[in-house]
Symmetry: C2
Subunit: 160 residues, 2 copies
């Protein structure tokens, strides 16, 4: 049974609606699935930051030889040095927007927007907005780790 | 004449000193030469910025689908939109520090430090310091072009 017949068969048997969208949404494995895997890794990284803490999430996802280029600061080289500078008492959440992976599959990058939820000197909640680029390298065990993390400020979003 | 004999011949004829260092500095082609080619492209990009203007250099080195993530601003998508926002009357110089290229050779990144030489409201020269990441994609004609440009501020360097 070829693909078209399979879809027609599914439509007949399951009444359309359910089977058809999945059948048409199937994507070929390859470039797109690599990008999706890296994007999903960044999404899991962001979930870990909100679910535990930014420092714990960075401990999980930074490569040992990672470098951070912090806004207003000098470059920080090495996972341990980056973690030592992260502090606590804030929530860092982010939304990955795009991932790209080299054809060879070992180098990629993501970018997205972030929100830093903290408190001002009077204890009032404040939110700082920004955007980031992460460069990722696939490790020997197949896990993607961040080798470079850079962020900068964005204007507060305007009301919809 | 094999390579060793060539070097010995050069040493005899030209008296050493000149020929020997170059002969021994030869590096194998491959990963390192890819990184060096991209680093050199970023160095040429920086030279063009100082030699002409930042906007003219960006016009030469940005991919059409480039994106800029400017400090304090929202993402700017597309070469023409980036160029339209660049203005004039300043000198942007930078020093590339490192390049990495994927094994497949079509995707890479560089980072470095920059200086923005401008004038304050009273016409007095001021320098702003920062660092940047550029992500590069090799085009169909073999030329490296910037697909993502991001920068943020650094403290002024301390006196040596």
């Amino acid at each position: 049974m070829n693909k078209t017949l399979s879809v027609l068969f599914a439509l007949l048997v399951f009444g359309g609606g359910v089977a058809a969208p999945n059948a048409f949404a199937q994507k070929p494995a390859g470039k797109n699935s690599k990008q999706e895997a890296l994007l999903n890794t960044d999404i899991e990284f962001a979930k870990a930051s909100v679910g535990t803490s930014a420092a714990e999430a960075f401990a999980m996802y930074l490569a040992d030889d990672s470098m951070q280029l912090p806004a207003g600061g000098n470059p920080i080289v090495g996972k341990q040095a980056i973690l030592a500078g992260m502090g606590s008492g804030y929530v860092l959440s982010w939304e990955p927007k795009k991932a790209e992976v080299a054809k060879s599959g070992e180098l990629g990058w993501t970018w997205g927007t972030f929100e830093l939820h903290t408190k001002d000197a009077e204890g009032k909640p404040v939110v700082r907005y920004g955007k980031y680029v992460n460069i990722w390298r696939k490790q020997k065990d197949g896990a993607w780790k961040v080798i470079l993390d850079m962020g900068n400020a964005s204007p507060a979003p305007t009301a919809p």
